[in-house]
Each structure stands twice: as structure tokens, then as C-alpha cells.
């Protein structure tokens, strides 16, 4: 037998590397699918007899502060704030942080809710841009409401921190003013915290969905619909997979990497001691979660982060490729920034599951996945051009990967349907089920390219359009 040449050695190493990588990825997806199914079925079982009314009849229920930053939301601010004030929970406050809006957001609120500036003993535990004034309503019917008016801090993180400073209760719900919450959100999210025997639950979250084509009014969503436009519809599928299959699976083994910025209930004490949101981060929600978990490890707090499989929050997703591109570039920057910031956690046994599972997974299968994928594709193209490939085998492998990804996404849709029959008509459900077939071909390559662009921007240190654009990232896409 001939000795393999160097090139052959490299090719072999490369091929088996990618092969092992791919296999691990596929296996971890399958494991997540199984774990999430177990978690969902268990949740379902319990949820059949849990009487959430217990919290309402309670004499001293746990108080929750709902914090929602608002930047130039003049068009919808009133109905959004109203909907936040009519949640089904007996003891909570709503803190709207007007992040130096240049439109009439503040004026509208002052008029509608009869706000007056008050001498508010604002305890600055987290550093933020200066707070100008704090308003309370002179109408006792709106006594839940506090409006914090601050100088624009150029990030949602800064505004959220100001809200946390003004909050009076031990738990806070972080959301966006334009997110539409299910009216039982607080009841549902507080339950895992007060019904946990061993650990300290530092955050809980639930599924987010696209609000794009839903019918809604001040009271919330009146009719859930599958987004009509193609880009949001892809995202709906993506979110279902990420939350119902991903986060639920991670929650089952207490390895949740991130509680979404659109909806999450947090233990205020831990958040403040961990340092609050980082205004310089591009992915402030995940960054905070990782920092909180690391903080708990260093303080020897036996923590848990829990997810529940219910859809409680609807957010407006990017409806065009252009806006999606901006959002994903930002997310990718956030991820790479976070990984480089917290690289000391990676494979560090001191941080337990955070160091050995959460960080490695996100490093290997979130951060460098687009890179490996891109390299793989280029490699295949070269192999095809040079004729070094067994075409039928390559096609078979491709078909396998394609079908497998369709399967995972379809399972996610099924898991979601187990918890709740979200869409009214089977037609809508069917139209959603079709998306996995196109996702690999259309949506996924786009997202991959945007991610690579984000990494590129980060590495070359290119300035992200700072300022108000930044908050436009996630759920702040322009309203129709």
C-alpha cells in the first residue's frame, strides 16, 4: 500500500473532523428533542390540576415589577401600556422607561395616564445615563404605573437598568413595550420560582412568537395567526424550534443559556449583584444570563433557570430581508463578543454545567457553526470541481442532512402543538409545516451569511451603527 500524501492526510483529517462535528451536532439535536418532549409532557401533566388562582387569592402574593423600555413608540404606546396594566396578577407595578424618545411618547403617556412628576427616591444601584424625571399618575386607577424619563442611553440595556433601579419588588419581568403579553404571564412565570424545592430559580422564561399577522387590541392577542409574509413565517418556525425544542430541552437539565430579552422574569437581587445589563453588549440578554450564572457559581448559589413551554409573548419580527440582516448581524456580534468576553468560563470545571455544557455548546454549535458550514460548502464545491467526489454518496449525505433538519423542525412544531393548539385552522398549521422544507434552502443560508458578516464586523472592529439603531435590533422593527 502506498503511503498517503500530506494532502490526503489533511483531507482525511478535515473530513473526519467535519464528520464528527456533524454527528455530534445531530445527536445533540436529537437529545434536545427527547429532553424537551419529556419536559413538556411533565409540564402538561402538572398543568392539568394547578390552580393559578391560588396566587390571586393569596393575602401577600410575591410582588413583581414589570419593566418595559420605550423608545419612540408614540404610535402604540398607550395601548401597549394599557395592556401591561391589565395583566392577571394581584400585586405588580409597571415601570415604563422612556429612553429619551424624540417623538411624543412621553407626552402621550402624561396626557392619557394623568402623570405628574414626583420626588422619587431613585436608588442608583446600577449605573445608567441620567434620569430626568420620574412620573406617577394622579389618578389612583393607574397607581400601578411609574414612568421613568431618562436621557437616551443608546441601548436597551441602559434603559432596563434604570427600570431595575426604580423597581420595588424582588422579582422583575423584563419585556419590551411593543411585546404583547398573555394576560396570565406573571402567574405562569412566577410559579416555577415559588414551587422549587432545592434550587434558587434566578430566571424563568417562556416561548416568544411572531406578532406580525396576529390580530390584537389593547387586551392582547385576539387571534393568533401564522405570519403571512415569508420572512416572519420562517422566524416563527425558527422561534418555535429555539424555544419549544431548544430552551425546553436545556431547561430539563438546567442548562438554559439565555432568557430572551423580550420576556423573562428575573431575581432582582441576583441581577443587581451580578451587575445588571451590560450597555455595551450587542446581546445583552444572553450576556446577563451567562454573567448571572457565573456569579451564582462563584457565590456557591445553587441556581436554576427554568423555561415553560407556553407561548406568552408576541413580538414583531423583521419582515424584510434588510431588517432581518441588521438584526442577525447584531445577534452574531453579540454572540462572538460574549464568547470572547467570557472565554475563561469555557471548559472551566469550576463553573459546573455552565463551563462544561452551556458555554462549550454555544461555542461549538452556535458560534462556529456558520464558519464550519461555510468552509464545508466551499470544500465540497472544490471537490466537485476537481472531480474528487463520489456524487451519489454526496447527494445521499446531503439528502440525509436535509431530511434530518426537516424532521427536527417538524418535531418542534409537534411539541408546540402538544402544549397548545395555537392556530385555529389546520390550514395555517399546514402552511407552517411546509416551512422546514424551504428553510434549509432559503432562510438558513441567509442567516448563516448574516452571522458571518457579524463576526467579520466584530473582528475587524467595524463600528456598528450605534445610537438609536441599536434598539431597533430585536423587537423594535418599524410598525406598519
Amino acid at each position: 500500500m502506498e503511503q498517503p500524501t500530506l494532502i490526503e492526510k489533511i483531507t482525511h483529517f478535515f473530513e473526519s473532523g467535519i464528520f464528527i462535528y456533524g454527528i455530534t451536532l445531530l445527536i445533540s439535536y436529537s437529545l434536545l428533542a427527547i429532553l424537551s418532549l419529556i419536559a413538556i409532557l411533565r409540564f402538561q401533566k402538572e398543568d392539568r390540576y394547578v390552580d393559578y388562582n391560588l396566587l390571586i387569592t393569596s393575602k401577600i402574593p410575591v410582588g413583581i415589577s414589570v419593566i418595559a423600555p420605550a423608545f419612540n413608540e408614540g404610535l402604540t404606546i398607550i395601548s401597549n401600556v394599557r395592556s401591561l396594566m391589565n395583566l392577571n396578577y394581584p400585586r405588580y407595578e409597571v415601570i415604563i422607561v422612556n429612553d429619551g424618545s424624540s417623538d411624543d411618547t412621553l407626552e402621550k403617556m402624561i396626557r392619557e395616564f394623568e402623570l405628574v412628576p414626583v420626588d422619587f427616591a431613585y436608588h442608583k444601584r446600577l449605573n445608567t445615563f441620567p434620569v430626568r424625571k420620574i412620573f406617577r399618575s394622579s389618578n389612583a386607577a393607574y397607581s400601578k404605573l411609574t414612568v421613568v424619563d431618562k436621557v437616551n442611553g443608546k441601548s436597551k440595556a441602559d434603559a432596563s437598568n434604570a427600570g431595575i433601579n426604580a423597581a420595588s419588588f424582588p422579582y422583575f419581568l423584563c419585556t419590551d413595550v411593543d411585546c404583547i403579553l398573555n394576560k396570565d404571564t406573571l402567574l405562569r412565570l412566577i410559579k416555577p420560582i415559588i414551587d422549587e424545592p432545592r434550587k434558587r430559580v434566578i430566571a424563568t422564561g417562556a416561548t416568544l412568537r411572531m406578532a406580525n399577522s396576529c390580530e390584537m387590541d389593547e387586551g392582547g392577542i385576539t387571534r393568533v395567526r401564522v405570519p403571512k409574509r415569508i420572512i416572519p413565517r420562517f422566524q416563527e418556525v425558527e422561534y418555535i424550534r429555539a424555544f419549544v425544542l431548544g430552551k425546553m430541552g436545556w431547561s430539563a437539565i438546567n442548562c438554559v443559556p439565555n432568557v430572551s430579552g423580550g420576556l423573562g422574569l428575573f431575581d432582582k437581587d441576583i441581577v443587581i449583584r451580578a451587575g445588571g445589563y451590560d450597555p455595551l453588549s450587542f446581546g445583552e440578554d444572553m450576556e446577563l444570563m451567562i454573567r448571572m450564572e457565573a456569579f451564582c457559581c462563584s457565590q456557591k448559589i445553587d441556581y436554576a433557570v427554568r423555561y415553560i413551554p407556553l407561548s406568552l409573548c408576541w413580538t414583531e419580527g423583521p419582515s424584510t430581508v434588510k431588517i432581518l440582516r441588521r438584526q442577525r448581524i447584531r445577534w452574531a456580534r453579540g454572540l462572538i463578543q460574549l464568547m470572547s468576553q467570557h472565554r475563561r468560563l469555557l471548559f472551566n470545571p469550576f463553573y459546573g454545567r455552565l463551563g462544561l455544557i452551556v458555554m462549550p455548546y454555544n461555542f461549538l454549535f452556535e458560534l462556529i457553526a456558520p464558519v464550519i458550514e461555510a468552509v464545508g460548502i466551499i470544500y465540497y464545491i472544490i471537490m466537485i470541481i476537481t472531480g474528487n467526489i463520489n456524487t451519489p454518496y454526496a447527494i445521499m449525505l446531503l439528502v440525509f442532512v436535509y431530511i434530518y433538519s426537516v424532521m427536527i423542525t417538524t418535531l418542534a412544531i409537534l411539541w408546540d402543538q402538544i402544549t397548545y393548539k395555537t392556530y385555529k385552522s389546520w390550514r395555517e398549521t399546514f402552511s407552517l409545516c411546509l416551512m422546514p422544507f424551504f428553510e434549509m434552502l432559503i432562510y438558513h443560508p441567509l442567516v448563516m451569511l448574516f452571522s458571518l458578516r457579524g463576526y467579520f464586523n466584530f473582528i475587524t472592529g467595524q463600528k456598528h451603527s450605534w445610537g438609536n439603531m441599536q434598539r431597533q435590533g430585536f423587537s423594535n422593527t418599524p410598525k406598519k
Binding site: I56, T57, N86, Y89, N139, A140, A141, S143, G219
Partner: protein, 129 residues
């Protein structure tokens, strides 16, 4: 003379119970609202003599309903009863501050409920000019 009673609650069963309990009394005309917004709309269109409202409701909560009644000079004197499962004293005090006349915690006891309603109706009718 008919007495117009506005009932605002988002629980179908509770509405059914109050409706049937009140149907025993004579001369009650009932207006049903399934949320605070509907209640306020009904108030605009009809002359209401008594309000029975829940606190936690969508669209507009009970506090807003009470406030809407109290702030309108024409309805400022209309008796308002809160019927809610809320156990949090703070919220109940809030309701009284806004001008509610009575608070009945769910589950209600029918006899007691009726006597409280009747007492409020009697009181308000003696107060009429």
C-alpha cells in the same frame, strides 16, 4: 321603578351566578360587561344605579371602572361593590380609596351578598334628592 345594575366580570360562571342570584330580586335590570372597557361603555349609555365589579379584568381593570364612575359627577354617587377573588389587602384598600363602597371576596355567600346589595341600594335611594 327598575333598578339598573351593571355587572363587570370576566368569569362566565361568576356572571351566571350573580345574574341568577339577582334575578330573584324584583325590578332589577341587569347590564353585563365582560371587561372594564365594556363596563365603561355601558355606563356612558345608560343610567346605572349600582355597580358590581371584579378587579382583575382585561382591557380596563376594575380600578379604572370605579374611577370612571367616581369622576363623572353624574355617577359619583352610584354605589360600587367590588366582588373579586383577590386576597391582597393592598389592592382592596386601593379599591376603597378610589371610592368603592363595599368589597366582597369570592367565593360569595348568596344571602350575605344579597343583603349587602340591598343595603347599598336602600342607602343610595335615601340619598337621592
Amino acid at each position: 321603578m327598575t333598578v339598573n345594575i351593571l355587572i363587570a366580570d370576566d368569569d362566565e360562571v361568576m356572571l351566571q351566578i350573580i345574574r341568577s342570584v339577582l334575578s330573584r330580586g324584583k325590578g332589577f335590570q341587569l347590564f353585563i360587561a365582560r371587561n372594564g372597557k365594556e363596563a365603561i361603555q355601558i355606563k356612558e349609555k345608560n343610567k346605572i344605579d349600582l355597580v358590581i365589579t371584579d378587579l382583575l379584568m382585561p382591557y380596563a381593570n376594575g380600578f379604572e371602572v370605579i374611577s370612571a364612575f367616581r369622576r363623572d359627577p353624574e355617577t359619583a354617587g352610584v354605589p360600587v361593590v367590588i366582588v373579586s377573588s383577590i386576597g391582597n389587602e393592598e389592592a382592596v384598600i386601593e379599591g376603597f380609596k378610589l371610592g368603592a363602597d363595599d368589597f366582597i371576596q369570592k367565593p360569595i355567600q348568596v344571602g350575605e351578598f344579597m343583603s349587602r346589595i340591598n343595603r347599598l341600594l336602600a342607602k343610595s335611594s335615601t340619598n337621592l334628592p
